[in-house]
């Protein structure tokens, strides 16, 4: 709840899907379908990259969108833009599946995090279409050295901690921390410069 201290004003204005989400909150099936058409591809791509199998990946995507439909009030525009929130939800669900967590465990452990997570887009963030956004992120991460990129991917797509990544890559813990920290800082700066 401490995150409620953040001013909601900018987030509302930054959310490109505010109108669709407002309709979704009114249980508008058409709005839900438009959101699915617009974002199911990136959600599925992310989930498939994490769980690696199409069957379980579709099950996770289905769960994510059904949660969105049945509990749309969980999304609060005041807490940040919609798509990063959706991607965060999808990633958490996919990692839970990867770790073979039961639905009940997930509810107990992560629901609070999902509901109260706040995402704030920086001031420089523009509304980009999904294709351009993907190209930009891939280009910037592609400029990192391979080990940096590998460490970030292990953390993001496999949910590994610093220590687990250090063990996986057989590198010192401090080195791994530096790779990830510097890699993300470079990504942030790159996104800023590109805007």
């Amino acid at each position: 709840m401490f995150l409620a201290a953040i001013s909601p004003k900018d987030n509302r204005e930054a959310s490109p899907d505010a109108a669709l989400v407002r309709l979704l909150l009114q249980n508008d099936v058409g709005a839900f379908e438009k959101i699915y058409d617009k974002y199911s591809r990136i959600v599925y791509s992310l989930v498939l990259r994490i769980v690696q199998q199409s069957g379980p990946a579709e099950e996770v995507v289905q769960d994510v969108f059904l949660q969105l439909w049945r509990n749309s009030t969980q999304y609060d525009a005041a807490r940040g833009p919609f798509v990063p929130w959706l991607l965060t939800l999808a990633r958490n669900r996919a990692l839970d599946t990867l770790r073979l967590k039961s639905e009940r465990q997930r509810r107990l452990e992560n629901q609070t995090d999902e509901l109260f997570s706040v995402v704030v887009a920086p001031q420089y963030e523009k509304e980009l279409d999904e294709k351009r956004r993907a190209e930009r992120v891939r280009s910037l991460v592609g400029q990192l050295n391979p080990q940096q990129k590998r460490a970030i991917e292990l953390a993001y797509f496999q949910g590994l901690s610093h220590s687990e990544i250090a063990a996986e890559l057989k590198e010192p813990l401090g080195t791994v921390k530096s790779w990830i920290r510097n890699g993300l800082i470079r990504l942030k700066e790159g996104l800023h410069t590109a805007s």
Binding site: D37, S102, I180, K188
Partner: protein, 275 residues
């Protein structure tokens, strides 16, 4: 630090320290974490592009529309009222159940749809019969009763699958290469257990569901048996589970002789914990 936290990469002690600080209400750090979450979310775009199957959208939209209809009428209503179009609610509920089951198994929905169509046709024939003679009325009543029982079963399955209070239990295969099974347990309406591409039990043996009690030393409680169809698929309803969900710590599936067993004779092939 904030980026690593948003990434979930902090080891437990570092994570706990940062969360303890955030809990003090530090707005500046909270904003940094929120911005870091946005940055980390952008990593999703590194995933190779992939497209979902068309069936996923079909299933999802069917469920969403079914949800919308369900909100306007009780999922287990047994009254004889009708919709605005004159269709009895029990028939609407049956159709909704069909749509929902399509979500889980297209094959099963198709089968049930055919059953519903046949049942409706039979119903019409029965009504004509009822109007003709007393004897025919008696026969028709039996068939109507059977059809109503089938519809009641479908309504119950629909309620279990759609009610938000139902608990989902994933049963993972144990030491065999097989897809997981999924059970939905509603404290009032029972359990719906579903399996896809399940390996066929040998000979005439069957798969049997067991409820594993929480109480130490308690024995597994036997439940229904099932044999998957030729494609390894099945959907089965347990209307009256032998134990309450609150007293159960796990569900298990074993292979047993035809007719089932009073106690497991083999080690579980699928197991799913309640919590």
């Amino acid at each position: 630090m904030y980026e690593a936290y948003a990434l979930g990469a902090l080891d437990p002690p570092e994570r706990a320290a940062l969360e303890a600080h955030l809990a003090t209400g530090c707005a500046e750090c909270a904003k940094s974490v929120a911005e870091a979450r946005w940055l980390v979310s952008q990593l999703a775009y590194l995933a190779p592009e992939a497209a979902t199957s068309d069936m996923l959208k079909v299933r999802l939209m069917q469920t969403v529309r079914s949800d919308t209809k369900a909100k306007s009428s009780s999922p287990v209503s047994t009254g004889a009222t009708t919709t605005a179009s004159g269709i009895p609610y029990w028939l609407s509920a049956g159709i909704a159940a069909l749509l929902l089951l399509t979500l889980y198994f297209a094959w099963d929905a198709h089968r049930l749809k055919e059953q519903l169509r046949a049942a409706n046709e039979q119903n019409q024939r029965n009504e004509q019969m009822v109007a003709s003679t007393e004897n025919e009325r008696a026969v028709s009543q039996q068939e109507l009763t059977a059809m109503q029982e089938q519809m009641a079963k479908m309504r119950r399955e629909n309620a279990i699958l759609t009610d938000p209070s139902s608990v989902k239990i994933t049963l993972a295969a144990q030491k065999i290469q097989a897809p997981q099974m999924v059970a939905m347990w509603h404290t009032k309406y029972g359990i719906v257990l579903t399996g896809q591409k399940v390996p066929m039990p040998s000979g005439n043996r069957v798969l049997q569901l067991w409820l594993i009690p929480k109480a130490p030393g308690s024995k597994p409680m036997p439940s229904v048996t099932v044999r998957p169809d030729a494609n390894g698929n099945f959907v089965i309803l347990v209307s009256n589970p032998p134990a309450a969900s609150s007293d159960t710590k796990a569900l298990a599936i074993t292979e047993e002789p035809a007719g089932g067993s009073a106690a497991p004779t083999t080690t579980p092939k699928w197991v799913g914990a309640m919590s």
